[in-house]
Structures are given as C-alpha cells and as structure tokens.
C-alpha cells in the first residue's frame, strides 16, 4: 500500500480521489487531457433505465464560490451505457469504475442495479437516491427514511458489487437515513449530493434556471458537507465517501479526518479539467507539510475526539 492508497469496500484505491458523478461524463473528455488511470476511480454519469434529455435550459447559474445546476439526469439510458459507453471507457480506463445509478421506481432501481453490477468493469454501485433535479425521481427515495430503506432493501440482493448509497443533504436528519441504509445492507454511504438552491436574474426579474431551483455545489458548500460526513461517519460502521465542495488536496485530507474513506470531487472538474490530477499530484506535498505519513493513518482522525 502506498502513501495515498485507501480501501473502499474491500477494493484498494491508489488514492482517495474520485471524480463525482455528473461532472466527469464517462471519462473520455478528460482522458484527452490526462491519463485518467491516475485516479482512485471515478463515478460515471447518473444512469437511468430510459434515455433522458433532462431539464430545459438554462440549467446553470453562477454563485459566489459555487454554481447551481438543474441538468436533470441527462443520460443515454442503461442499455446504451452498457453497449457503448463502457466499451469506449475500457480503451482509456483500466480500473474498476463506480456506476452511479438512478431510478424512478423501486422496480427500475432493481433492474438497473442488477444489469450494471453484472458488468466486469464496475467495481461499486453508487445508488443515487438523491438527485434534486428530477421530479418524482430519485430524491423522493432519499428524503424519507422509509423509502430509502425500501429501495436499499430491494436492490441489495441483486447487487453483485459493493453497494454505496448516495444521500441528499436536503433532509432534517441525514444521520438517521444513513443508519437506515446501513441497516438494510448498504456497504457504504456517499454524501453529500447538492444542496437545493436558487438564483434570480435582476435584469429579467426571473429565476436564472428554467426549472427555478437546482443543486448548489462548489467550495461554498464544503463546510456543510464536511459536517455531514463527520456526523454520518460517527454513526455508521460502513465506509463513507465524502464529497461536497472539495477542490484542493487540503480539502481531501479534511474529509478523511472527518471520517471519509475516499473523497469525490465534482464541480472542481468543471472549472479546471485537470483539478483531480492536480489534487493527486499535490497530496504528497501537503501531507509532508502536515506531517502525515500515510492517508490511511489519519482517516477518521477526529471521530473519537
């Protein structure tokens, strides 16, 4: 095990850096600018049963130290992901990939998870029950402990890979939902998805985003994300993947100290396509600066304080 390597549900990652779903497509745009095999892994674009266009535009709004998106799970549908995207990905990525799976009903989640987890390239399934941009979609499952329990319980038996459940922060008590998912057999918890947000254009006096609201992400949300990762990591025994506003090596280390086993990086990729490569390159220097020998030594460092 190297200085940066970590374990995620029994699979060793060379480093904890994982581009987050929805900010990295299926990897190729980034593979043109750097070798994406340097990543721990990455979580591919949230995939549903049917192809989806997503929401009307504008889908993007700028904020102070962040942005709002209301893409709405645009994806080619699971059959195309398996027949076209995964073979294409194989040409530029040789590690197990994290499959982000969405759904609109328990039955759809079961079918999608069964199909995708059977793929050799898939190392983990990240169950998205937290998309804020799809009405009657995933987020309804993630905002209510009973529905979350129902979907995790239903997919667990058909999931042939470690099952990581991705949670929304737009709830009163994220800890109870995390504990429910763990009790129903989740092998890991990832959090946080975006915070529901909104902007208004003063020139038009109308919401910037056509869908009115969207998911707020970027460095502005990092302290909120870190706090929730800490709370959940304290409450569950399964690995936690921390994310939300991570944009530099220091943030990765903070997330790990708060209890994350690995760290997803989302919005930073959109601003700087080399963000994850830079973070990986900077980690050893920042670790030296803070006298950290190995990342695994400090994981969960503040949990027992």
């Amino acid at each position: 095990m190297g200085r940066l390597s970590v374990d995620l549900c029994g699979i060793t990652l060379d480093n904890p850096v994982i581009p987050a779903s929805g900010t990295f497509g299926f990897g190729y745009e980034f593979a043109k600018i750097y070798d994406i095999n340097i990543l721990g892994t990455f979580s591919f674009k949230g995939t549903t049963k049917e192809p989806r266009f997503g929401n009307p535009t504008p889908r993007i709004a700028e904020c102070t130290s962040g942005m709002i998106n209301a893409v709405g799970l645009q994806n080619p549908g699971i059959d195309k992901v398996i027949s076209e995207e995964l073979p294409q990905l194989k040409k530029c990525f040789s590690k197990p990939v994290m499959a982000n799976i969405g759904g609109f009903s328990v039955d759809e989640y079961i079918e999608n998870v069964e199909k995708i987890s059977a793929q050799e390239q898939v190392g983990w399934v990240e169950l998205n029950i937290s998309c804020p941009n799809v009405h009657s979609g995933g987020v309804n499952f993630g905002t209510d402990a009973k529905s979350a329990a129902e979907v995790v319980r239903a997919v667990r038996p058909v999931c042939k890979k470690p099952l990581i459940v991705k949670l929304t922060p737009n709830v009163t008590d994220i800890v109870s939902i995390a504990k429910t998912c763990e009790a129903e057999g989740a092998d890991g918890i990832s959090l946080i998805n975006t915070l529901l947000g909104m902007r208004i254009d003063l020139k038009t006096k109308k919401p910037v985003i056509k869908n009115i609201m969207g998911g707020f992400s970027g460095p502005a949300i990092f302290p909120v994300a870190l706090r929730m990762v800490y709370q959940v990591a304290k409450a569950v025994a399964v690995p936690v993947v921390g994310m939300g506003g991570v944009s530099k090596a220091e943030d990765v280390i903070e997330m790990m100290l708060a209890g994350a086993s690995a760290v997803e990086i989302g919005t930073a990729n959109l601003i700087n396509p080399c963000a994850c490569r830079n973070i990986i390159n900077n980690l050893p220097r920042v670790m030296d600066e803070y006298s950290i020998e190995k990342l695994s030594d400090i994981q969960g460092g503040v949990l027992n304080g």
């Binding site: 900010t23 990295f24 535009t57 889908r59 102070t64 910037v208 970027g218 601003i271 700087n272």
Partner: protein, 244 residues
C-alpha cells in the same frame, strides 16, 4: 482542448459596451472559425466563454460586450494581465459547404466569429457578402475590418441611425450560395425563416464547463441531443429544432 495561460497585449473599447482584447498564448488548438475559448476571470466562479474573432500566430483577438460581472472585469484588464484559458472548444463553422458566394449574417456580439470565417473564406477565393446588424449607430463595430478583407459589407441598424434601417434580414442580398450566421436567438429565427439556402447557425447557451462534461448546455436537434459547447455551437439549418 488545451488549458494554458494567455497574456493581454491590448484591450480597448471599440463601440458602446464593446471591447477588443488581443491576447498572446498558445493558439494551436484553435482549428476553425466559430470555436470559442473559456476564460477564468478574476473571482468569478465559472469560466466565461467568448467566441474567437481572429487568430494570427500567437495573437488571439476577442471582441466582447460588457453584459455582467465577468465581462466588466475583462474590460478592466490591463496589458500584461494573464488569463487561465481553455482553447479549441466547440466545433466551429464548416467551410466546405460555402459554395462560391456565401453570405455571412451577424448581429451584435454575434459579429466577431464571422470575421475569422470571412478571412478564411476570402483566402479560399470565395466571393463573400457580409450583413452586420446592430441596435444603433454607437454599437456598430468591425465594418472597416470586414471591408479591409475585400468583402461586400452592408450594415443595418434597428433604429435606422446608421446604414439600412431594420434588421439583418431586411438588408440581405438576394443571391448567395450558402449562409453562416451568429447573433441573438430572435435574429437567428428570422434568418431561419428568411433564408432560401442551407446554412449554419452559431448558438449561445449558459454553460457550466464549456468542454462537454456537465451537460449544462444541451439542446434537442433533429439528429439527437447535442451539447452547445461540444457538438455545437454551430448547428446546420436542417438539424435545428426551435424550442418554442
């Protein structure tokens, strides 16, 4: 796509709210007119996509209008200031379809990308006509630059304060082999209705990344979903589906 640093050589006002910035840097990824670059500007969180007006060796010319915080900051950039820039974004115009006498129709800040296009078409020996539309006389720019290329230039202003009174569609010549256009959406719709040949349209949309990763700028076309930043911003007339 390439990420590199561009340094400001000059930055001057050329019309009401419109600035011309010349930067120096690695332009090797800019392969066709109609492409754009994406600049990291001051403390703005998202990059600012700006269409390429011209490239001459290491010199990149951008002509932009001050419309908000980012472009306002750009307008204050002094020579020597540096911008982290993504270059080689978007598909750009396809010159092979132009025919012998193509027509270029630009409105407002849709004019700049047509300059490099006109230059390339002229260098291929095409007989190019250009119609430039603006709201009013104070906003007119690049008329002389186009004329210096040796192309036929007609200017239209909506209020009639300069050139032909009306929109670009009121000042179009009758005979042309093909057309290329860029401008605000109402103008593009008018061009779509008024033109008799096939042609290419350059579109604008709010973008997240500008390089195809976030799906923020998707649109529906006859040939499927496209990302304005990646498979666009240029679409062919036959594939356009107007939203409303």
């Amino acid at each position: 796509m390439k990420q590199s640093i561009f340094k400001v050589i000059s930055n001057e006002k050329i019309a009401k709210s419109v600035y011309k910035m010349i930067l120096s840097g690695d332009t090797s990824e800019i392969t066709s007119p109609g492409q754009f670059v994406n600049l990291l500007v001051g403390t703005c969180f998202l990059r600012r996509p700006v269409s390429v007006c011209d490239v001459n060796g290491d010199a990149l010319t951008l002509v932009y209008k001050v419309v908000g915080t980012g472009t306002k900051l750009m307008s204050k950039a002094a020579p020597g200031e540096e911008f982290d820039t993504l270059t080689g974004l978007g598909n750009g115009y396809d010159l092979t379809l132009s025919g012998e006498n193509p027509l270029l129709l630009g409105g407002g800040v849709g004019v700049p990308p047509l300059y490099m296009l006109a230059k390339k078409l002229v260098s291929q020996g095409k007989k190019v006509s250009v119609v430039l539309g603006f709201n009013t006389k104070e906003e007119v720019f690049y008329e002389d630059e186009f004329k210096a290329l040796g192309v036929g230039v007609t200017v239209a202003t909506a209020d009639g304060s300069y050139g032909v009174k009306g929109f670009v569609t009121d000042a179009m010549p009758g005979d042309y082999s093909y057309f290329y256009t860029c401008g605000p959406e109402p103008m593009l719709k008018a061009v779509f209705r008024k033109t008799s040949t096939s042609g290419q349209f350059s579109f604008e949309e709010r973008m997240g990344c500008g390089f195809g990763a976030c799906m923020g700028c998707s649109c529906k076309t006859v040939t499927g979903y496209k990302r304005i930043c990646k498979e666009g911003p240029v679409l062919e007339k036959e594939e356009i589906l107007w939203e409303d």
